[in-house]
Amino acid sequence: MAAPRRYAPSHEWIRLEDDGTATIGISAYAVEALTDLVFMQLPDVGRRVKAGESFGEIESVKAVSDMYAPVAGEVVAVNTELPQRLETLGQDPYEAGWIVRIKPDTPAAVEGLLDQTAYDALLAKQSH
């Protein structure tokens, strides 16, 4: 059973998997706020990312946004089908819409991110 999702304030989610990797995506709120997604740039497998470092871009008709690694680690898998099917992000942002999987340097670092309650509170504050 995978751990619950945690969130970065920049709207990426991360979930520790049983095999010691962590899956990363962007939240339903982020997908909704971006709207009209047209392009996604994914990192290469094997790339090392620092916490807070951009690992890729997501572009809407309006603007391009970076996607930031919530924790440091090495990219071990990317969802190569996603850039051709960006609508998946709107339909299923937390499963089929996963973006990259990393091997975190410090899995415990994930525990330091926002839990669902704290993230919901952040969104509630932003909508005011």
């Binding site: 709207t35 009209d36 047209v38 392009f39 740039q41 572009e59 008709v61 309006k62």
Partner: protein
């Protein structure tokens, strides 16, 4: 919602792409009340505007509109639509100017500084009126359906770049067959107090036919596909209109207006860079300010770029060195740290019925 030249406006109501496609397939409605609306009245109004605008105003019939630039001796202040409305009284012509929101105040200041002592009155009616654009293949049907029969016939019969007074949804309006989307359609000016009534009536009448309310985002993608320049992006104070493909906006022969000497020399000495279209195989978007390169050499700069929903790929307008500006020529755009391959393409990217 965003602050646009001091106006609080929606980028989209729901989705830029859906609003864009609705306008191409059926109709889109746009609150363009931010556009500046100026009224020029008086016995000397025609001669005065004739001396100031790049297009001929003398000889403009009642009900006709023209695209023009507003220039000083050394700068292009704005692009605008000038229209001749019904005379205010016998011998008292009345004209309208629709200018960009971002330039309205300085255009008004400039025009006021050039007013003669008597014979011409200039009024900024922007805040007293509202403007709604209805654009798309079903726009006329929707708008005419809200007019009394006689007015509907007159509005339906408007030629391009003409206007008529009409009643719509019970309100007094001026309706012109103009727009900024590359579609057939109209722009409707009503008193500010009537704006809500007219907006709701068009929305309610048009929705069953596929009309959508559209924000600034779709307005920009539609005009980009239609190859229309936008002041502050393609068109700037120091632009060469001939290099932008706007030579028709300058009527030089036998005329004198602020900057006319400058434009004469621009016409005889072609500029180093010209406006072109660029198309990309990817949806990755070149945006304003991105460098256009061939190999390591910069050959131009992107002035506007977006995913183009009707075309299905990313497109851009750019100012490009004349020798590179050949249809089909391969160029790259530097988007952040990577190159995006594109090619020079004809403008517009989209032509209605084409």
């Amino acid at each position: 919602m965003v602050d646009f030249a001091g106006w609080w406006m929606p980028v989209q109501y729901a989705s830029i792409v859906e609003e864009h496609l609705a306008t191409r397939r059926a109709a889109g409605m746009f609150d363009v009340s931010h556009m500046g609306r100026l009224s020029i009245t008086g016995p000397g109004a025609i001669e005065w505007l004739e001396s100031l605008l790049t297009r001929r105003v003398a000889g403009l019939d009642v009900g006709r509109c023209r695209y023009t630039l507003i220039t000083t001796d050394d700068a292009i202040l704005d692009d605008a639509l000038v229209s001749r409305e019904a005379d205010a009284a016998e011998g008292t012509p009345r004209l309208g100017l629709v200018v960009n929101a971002s330039n309205r105040e300085r255009v008004v200041t400039w025009l006021r500084s050039r007013l003669p002592a008597a014979g011409v009155a200039l009024a900024d009616q922007t805040l007293d009126s509202a403007m709604i654009a209805v654009q798309g293949p079903r726009a006329l049907e929707i708008v005419c359906g809200l007019c009394p029969p006689e007015d509907a016939t007159r509005v339906g019969g408007l030629a391009g770049y003409t206007a008529t007074p009409a009643t719509i949804a019970g309100q007094t309006a001026t309706i012109s067959r103009t727009g900024y989307t590359g579609e057939d359609g109209v722009e409707i000016i009503v008193p500010a107090t009537a704006a809500g009534t007219v907006w709701e009536a068009i929305h309610a009448g048009g929705q069953p036919l596929g009309l959508r309310a559209c924000g600034l985002g779709a307005r920009d993608t539609l005009r980009l596909e239609a190859g229309m320049p936008l002041y502050g992006h393609e068109l700037r104070e120091d632009s060469d209109p001939f290099a932008l493909g706007l030579g028709l906006a300058i009527a030089l022969d036998g005329r004198s207006f602020p900057g006319s000497e400058r434009f004469l020399s621009m016409r005889s000495q072609p500029a180093a860079q010209v406006r072109v279209g660029l198309v990309f195989d990817s949806k990755r978007t070149a945006r304003e300010g991105h460098a256009v390169v061939v190999g390591e050499r910069q050959v131009g700069t992107v002035t506007s770029g977006s995913f183009a929903p009707t075309v299905g790929t990313a497109v851009a307008m750019a100012l490009l060195d004349r020798e590179v500006a050949v249809l089909g020529a391969a160029v790259d755009v530097l988007i952040r740290d990577t190159r995006q391959a594109g090619r020079v393409a004809p403008l517009p990217f989209y032509r209605r019925g084409g």
